[in-house]
């Protein structure tokens, strides 16, 4: 109680951590949708557009498209001369933004379609991607998001 001012986002520190308060919708999406008090019979409102983001993100981890993107990304590492073992040092020399931009369009491509550029956005202030996706009329019940949240398992079983 009575600690209202302490609820302001804590900022500063080392500068290595991206911080936001809960207005950073993307980062709290699954909390608001999957957590909290609930009486099942009174859950009535379903989300259009946004909810799909969390579900798709989990499914996409174990898809062929993801594998192909990983493969492409790892082949592109040539450009970074991975073999020279000098990479850790090199990484330190690169600004994070610089390192990211080189592979943008590989792993980033599909994710941006889902989330906008949230991951790269230091503030991540909203689900920019959600609006782009609201054209989808599919409405799924939020329960699906937790059921589909086990991509690694199905992937593992498909191994060998």
């Amino acid at each position: 109680m009575a600690a209202a001012t302490q609820m302001q986002p804590h900022r500063g520190g080392s500068g290595y951590v991206a911080r936001s308060s809960s207005s950073g919708l993307y980062d709290v999406l699954e909390l608001i949708l999957d957590k909290g008090l609930v009486i099942d019979v009174f859950v009535r409102v379903s989300l259009i557009g946004i909810e799909i983001l969390t579900i798709d993100a989990r499914i996409v981890i174990a898809s062929v498209d993801t594998y192909l993107r990983f493969a492409e990304a790892v082949n592109r590492l040539d450009l970074m001369q991975t073999e020279t073992q000098g990479l850790p040092d090199m990484m330190e020399g690169l600004s994070e933004g610089g390192a990211e931009s080189k592979t943008k369009g590989v792993l980033q491509g599909a994710k941006e379609a889902l989330f906008g550029d949230e991951d790269e956005d230091e503030e991540g202030e909203d689900g920019g991607g959600s609006q782009r996706r609201t054209s989808s009329t599919t409405t799924r019940h939020r329960r699906k998001s937790s059921q589909s949240g086990k991509p690694s398992r199905s992937k593992r079983t498909s191994k060998s």
């Binding site: 919708l25 709290v28 608001i32 009535r44 989990r58 991975t82």
Partner: protein, 250 residues
């Protein structure tokens, strides 16, 4: 819009807490407290046919809860999308039957906040690490290199699959280490599913406000130590979404 209205529920506070001062909730309807025996629900009227919502509504839900916290309330957040028939329903179906449980959780959550922490591997860094560490991946990569894409379709899928598995292994290695480093500063931890392919950590921590500075300091230290390798995203302080639950009820 229908003539009839229903009651949207944002969360539960204590009946004696400061009420929202003319705050607009969903559909610009005023946020009101519905009180019953020491408990109060943060509610607003919504149209009877309110069944679909988007980003705006989610943000409103979140904001109403946050504002209650700012007023000094201990808040038990409801999951997004709970609509009850009317104020009477809120009293009779929520506040009365779950009274003891809700009181107990308000007690428990007093002075505590949730912090959600996500750690995302830097792509260049983690992929390079994987190639260096995993011989099979390194060899497959060499074998594919320079060859036309069409001729190596299945090899590339296999390579990607191995990388995805290696990322899983990294996740299994990184997440517990980070969680253990932070656990001493938290009251409880909830580990969530990764929501991004390079996400190594997605965890919520219940932290006492008094200890938040210490918790934050450790997060900063981890962030600095992992710089270039892992990017941390910190969201909070939040109402304790991940640490409240209703049982079967009375």
């Amino acid at each position: 819009m229908s003539e009839m209205s229903a009651t949207y529920v944002y969360g539960i506070v204590r009946a004696g807490d400061d009420p929202p001062a003319d705050e607009a909730g969903l559909h610009d309807e005023r946020v009101q407290l519905v009180a019953q025996e020491g408990l109060a629900a943060l509610t607003s009227e919504v149209p009877e046919d309110f069944v679909e919502a988007g980003r705006e509504e989610l943000l409103t839900h979140s904001r109403v809860l946050e504002n209650a916290v700012r007023r000094g309330s201990v808040v038990l957040p409801m999951r997004f999308g709970v609509v009850m028939p009317d104020a009477k329903g809120v009293r009779e179906e929520l506040l009365a039957p779950y009274r003891d449980e809700l009181q107990g959780q308000l007690e428990e959550m007093d002075g505590k906040v949730e912090v959600n922490l996500k750690g995302i591997h830097d792509e260049q860094s983690v992929l390079s690490e994987i190639v260096r560490e995993d011989r099979e991946i390194a060899e497959l990569r060499e074998a594919i290199r320079g060859k036309p894409q069409d001729a190596t379709y299945y090899e590339r899928i296999r390579l990607g699959e191995l990388i995805a598995e290696a990322l899983d292994d990294k996740r299994a290695e990184v997440a517990p280490t980070l969680i253990e480093a932070l656990r001493p500063y938290a009251v409880a931890v909830q580990v969530g599913e990764p929501v991004h392919e390079r996400m190594a950590l997605n965890a919520s921590f219940l932290v006492e406000r008094d200890r938040l500075d210490k918790f934050d300091k450790v997060v900063d230290e981890i962030g600095e130590k992992e710089a270039g390798r892992l990017r941390l995203r910190y969201t909070g302080p939040l109402p304790p979404h991940s640490f409240v639950e209703l049982g079967v009820g009375g």
